[in-house]
Subunit: 112 residues, 2 copies
């Protein structure tokens, strides 16, 4: 994806593959996080990587379990809307930091 365009096929070199895998996993989790935050989409993911036996889950085990139950049973579960206090808090924090960054960067830009 950068420097060189990558072939749409298994990366043969094992160490390159591992590095790529970790970078892409990170990117994927960010995408999920943003989709959930910006667009209010409910996601549940299990990822089995080749480098550990236990899977990665997102956003967390409970949600994954609940989403699966919902998926299996199809009748819509009424979901609690009152369990995001901490998440809201950290979200605000991130927003604020990003605004500060923007501001400071703009200040730099105007001096160049």
């Amino acid at each position: 994806m950068a420097r060189n365009k990558v072939n749409y096929a298994l990366i043969e070199d094992a160490s390159k593959r591992k590095v790529s895998c970790n970078k892409r996993l990170k990117g994927l989790l960010k995408n999920f996080d943003e989709l959930k935050t910006l667009c209010d989409v409910e996601v549940a993911t299990i990822i089995y990587g080749p480098y550990r036996n236990e899977p990665y889950t997102f956003p967390n085990n409970d949600v994954v379990r609940n989403t699966f139950i919902k998926f299996k049973e199809l009748p819509t579960l009424e979901r609690s809307k009152h369990m995001v206090t901490r998440e809201e808090f950290t979200m605000q924090r991130i927003k604020k930091l990003e605004e500060q960054l923007q501001k400071v960067r703009k200040e730099i830009g105007s001096r160049k």
Copy 2:
């Protein structure tokens, strides 16, 4: 992400949110597809969007079903060991933003 940087918060405008949601879903599925192909990672995802009753699944319903069953059978302890919780993820994000802020502020300081 383009033209303008987007705030890390729910997109208030409903039609913008929908457009963004669809674009991001598309991107996310592409990411999954590439991770699976390039790095031989097994993934299972359920995504409930606000615009249809049926969830999106990747790679397909059967794999999702099987993967989640497999996940359910893991002992709880093993499961939580490598869980990527959303909280952890946001903490990392905050840390990174703070580092950037520090760096940029230092740059400003050195010019004054």
